[in-house]
Subunit: 200 residues, 2 copies
Amino acid sequence: MELLSVYAGEVTASPLRKDAARNRQRIIEIGRKLVADGTPIQLNEVARAVGVGVATVYRHFPTPQALIEAVAVDGLEALIQAAERAVEQDDPWTAFRDFLVRIVDAQLSDAALSPVLSAPTTALPGTAHLLDQLSSLFTQLFERAEAAGRLAPGITLADMTPLICGIAFSARMHPAVDPQEQAAVGRHYLDVVLNGLRAR
Amino acid sequence: MELLSVYAGEVTASPLRKDAARNRQRIIEIGRKLVADGTPIQLNEVARAVGVGVATVYRHFPTPQALIEAVAVDGLEALIQAAERAVEQDDPWTAFRDFLVRIVDAQLSDAALSPVLSAPTTALPGTAHLLDQLSSLFTQLFERAEAAGRLAPGITLADMTPLICGIAFSARMHPAVDPQEQAAVGRHYLDVVLNGLRAR
DNA sequence: GCACTAAACGGATGAACCATCCGCTTCATT
DNA sequence: AATGAAGCGGATGGTTCATCCGTTTAGTGC
């Protein structure tokens, strides 16, 4: 019989050996650095940087995408917490808007989030579970705003993810010098879209 | 002394030999097909498909990006014509809006346009000239709309390209089956943004 | 038509990148 | 301390990339 165990936010068939867990963490750390620098992730290169054999990296993360997912976990968990706080909010529109501000900002400050939030959930074995949680919380926020009559007619839940990711895309396109300025640009574009989404 | 000559929309140091011009066209044709299918462009593979040596392809297009640019030329020229017609329009807002509809639609129906419109002009030796033309026409459309007081305060010309490309990005993210449906989604997102851009 | 030059061609080739496989090492358990 | 399972490393074969150079062909002058 195999024991089930939870680590790194995932349920798996058996716990990692101590050295393996350590290596995994190191790999994620380097991955985080590369993602932050915008360097394209090459698994062989990651292995060299960690000081570990290639196979070790490939065993933990068969593709660069998988490593990016692992790097994104922290950010996703923070977003889930933010969404949980938002559903506590009394005013539906404020809750909805504040969470959108948060998610746009998060995408701009954490480069690992965009690829995860933009990809079809089916392609994300490592984070599907977190994305489902986030999606379910966001659905509540959306439906409350809708029920309160704050959204323009014709806007559906399915429109929201594309629009949010589009805003982040726009902000990243806009040549901004420092991160702070980029956040401001993202906020500006979000305001435009929110303005367009709102019922009048 | 070298003669200057114009072909394929570019001014160069000397005209292409007939066989070279023919090959160039064939390469672009295959490139167009690949781009349309969403297949990532591999220059060696293009050579094989055209039935020509690799060197021939690399001579004409040193990078996949360069080939994409060449493929995008037709679409860019069509957009320039559309912009020229738009500046003839009497109503500033109609002209502005109709052109935006056009440019979003073009990006969704011609996959070569997005990378060219989204990239920094500096990285586009082959189409910079067309993009400048387009940009200058669009500036007129924007400034007329602005002068007519149709734009919300705080919206600048520099915001427009990112916003437009963001809309196309959003529409491409939205899982749409047929191209017609995708165009409708793009139009929908554009309406949201236009709604947010408009002065009230 | 022929000779000649410069332009263009082709594809062999070495460099770079990728990911697997398997013999060896380390951890955990008794 | 013995043992089996889990993990490790890196050599290696496969693939993709892009250059270089010997050969071919188009254009030009006669």
